[in-house]
């Protein structure tokens, strides 16, 4: 029984990491209709910022998240200005190639500046123990931040004027132009916010995992699986989708023979199944 509960908790905590990585990607796709293949690399940069703040400045990793958000927001705005803004109306293939190009560029820059070594943050492992079940404190914090940020973002999008404006642009860009909304400005802000969220995610990933130039690649894959499962661009359903993926991986790992190997392939399998059977995602909310 203990094993069963521990498996559920492990899955839930993992879903928190997946969710925080996915949320920025979902925002860009939902508002701008662009799949940002460099999103994982923004996460990677965030992880490095936290690592260097901790190592060089002896800064509390959670405090460094503020720097992550600011720096990645600025990087996001720059990338938008020099690249993304030029291909907004271009064919999807151009968008894919551009963001993929940025992804390769950032990976190689990280390799040049920080080598391929994997680095972790050597904080004392704090444990939360309830009965026979125990979990790492930092993973609980990451889970909490992940879900809180997603809920706040969802509320901003549905309740505030800013959010409603973004929704309006998302639904019909031309109509938004006609009613006087400065669409390029809101696009730029959205991309900046999504990048800042990736930076925040990176900092949290750096705390509970490690960082290396390729850390964004595998996390990016999970994010795409959640994106597809949730229905492309659907922020609320991303919460459900990340919990489903986290729990499924956890249960397969523990209860299926040779499970850990199978669990890793689950993301690919989900993408395949959802796109084949129900391309609109679990709630059918994908908009074209």
């Amino acid at each position: 029984m203990n094993n069963f509960i521990q498996t559920i908790i492990n899955g839930l905590l993992t879903s928190g990491v997946y969710l925080i990585v996915t949320i920025g990607l979902t925002l860009v796709l939902g508002i701008m209709r662009i799949v940002n293949f460099a999103h994982g690399e923004f996460v990677m940069i965030g992880a490095y910022i936290t690592y260097w703040c901790f190592t060089l400045l002896k800064m509390n990793p959670y405090l460094s998240l503020i720097f992550n958000i600011i720096i990645l927001f600025i990087i996001g705005i720059i990338i938008y200005k020099i690249g993304i803004s030029k291909i907004l109306d271009a064919p999807s293939l151009d968008q894919v190639l551009l963001t993929f190009g940025f992804s390769i560029l950032f990976q190689n820059l990280a390799l040049i500046f920080w080598t391929a070594n994997a680095y972790g943050i050597s904080m004392k492992t704090e444990i939360i123990k309830i009965g026979n079940i125990q979990v790492g404190r930092d993973r609980v914090i990451v889970f909490t931040i992940g879900f809180l940020i997603t809920i706040i973002l969802s509320l901003i999008l549905s309740k505030t004027k800013f959010g409603k404006t973004l929704n309006a642009i998302s639904q019909n860009r031309n109509a938004a132009y006609l009613v006087g909304i400065n669409v390029p400005y809101y696009y730029m802000l959205s991309f900046g916010i999504a990048s800042a969220l990736a930076g925040l995610a990176g900092g949290l990933v750096g705390i509970v995992m490690y960082t290396s130039p390729y850390i964004g690649v595998k996390l990016g894959l999970r994010a795409f699986a959640i994106l597809v499962l949730a229905g492309l661009g659907n922020i609320n359903m991303a919460i459900i989708a990340s919990i489903i993926l986290g729990l499924l991986e956890s249960f397969i790992s523990v209860y299926v023979p040779q499970g850990p190997g199978w669990a890793e392939g689950l993301s690919f399998f989900l993408i395949l199944i959802i796109l084949t059977i129900k391309p609109s995602g679990i709630k059918g909310l994908r908009s074209e």
Partner: protein
Amino acid sequence: MKLKKIIMLIIILSLILPLSLISCKKEEKPEAKEPIKIGAVIPLSGGAFAQAGQEQRYGLLMAEREINEKGGILGRRLELIIEDDQCKSETGIAAATKLITQDKVVALIGGYSSTITFAQMNAIASYEPIVVWMGASSVKVEHEFGPKKWFFHLHPWDYHRQKTVVDFLESINPKPKTIALTYEDGIYGTTSAEYFRKYAQGKFEIVFDEPHKSGSSDFTSLLTKAKAKNPDIFYSVSYAGDYLIQIKQAKEIGFKPKGFVIVAPLFPGYKDSLGKDGDYVVGVNPWAPTLKIEGLSDWLERFHKWFPEKQEIEYWVPLAYANLMCVADAINRAGSLDKNKIIEALEKTDLMTPFGRLTFKPSDEGGLHQAFTDLVMVQWQNLEPVVVFPKNLAGGNYIYPIP
């Protein structure tokens, strides 16, 4: 008249001959100064292997500089051409083929991944180049290319590593009874697991035996499953980044086996990344900076002078250094660039390197030229690596069970 003609001929010849001699000299000069090219293919970008590839690069560069400082090879400058396989087989094949067919290198060195090596050697086998390979530990490579006259191999094979681990586990007092084994599901992990099972059979009970994907963000489920089996030893065959998470997450879920065993525990960043959480982990390694190898302390001093920015070094650095040094040594002894003479010289190699004494001997499973076979067990104690096995090389006792 005749005399006049002879005088004219002498004058013309005296003008032409020195010119021709000069021109001959001019043609010979660049030929004589033309560098001797050796090609290396290592992973420098594109994936997790790049970490080891960048270590290898330091060793190769140091060897190249020292060889050229001492007058090069056969009086000619050594030109080392390093190609990046980008952790991909197809890029590795293209790089190796380019070095052989376009750059016309005398020998091919380098290597890391067994999978990429297998593909590369298949692709270039028809050229029968001189290959002196530091990477690839899978016996699949040994079975296929070990018997080739042109293939020389430096790194211990899988079975050397697994035999060392089993011998070490047997030496522990009190002897552990149960083992949880997990391995990355590539060619390196699966072959290592096969040999471990083979050697451990009848000696230990393997209560958990599961693969995992390298690069995973979460190992808590795997560790929870292993914890439920309550093993004496947890043995993981994987890569640096995976170990960082596994060690941390084992602590988080309260999984505390009596012994935590990994492969190659001296990777850069281990100490800084794990701190005290990394203490008491033990791992199998073919080298340690504290080993009593003739000339090692001098070599380490020279290395830190060449590369002051590089403080921690993994075993790939001295291995790569030995890789290039042994090829240069063989060419010098061969006295020419003739392929057969170099192969003959390589077979007779007896060279002291910072990795140990380098000679080529037949290996256990069919290889003709195998250099290193010995490994040690290194345990992190108070954030310092201590050799704990074999006893004759040990710098301290193995702390067991983990306090």
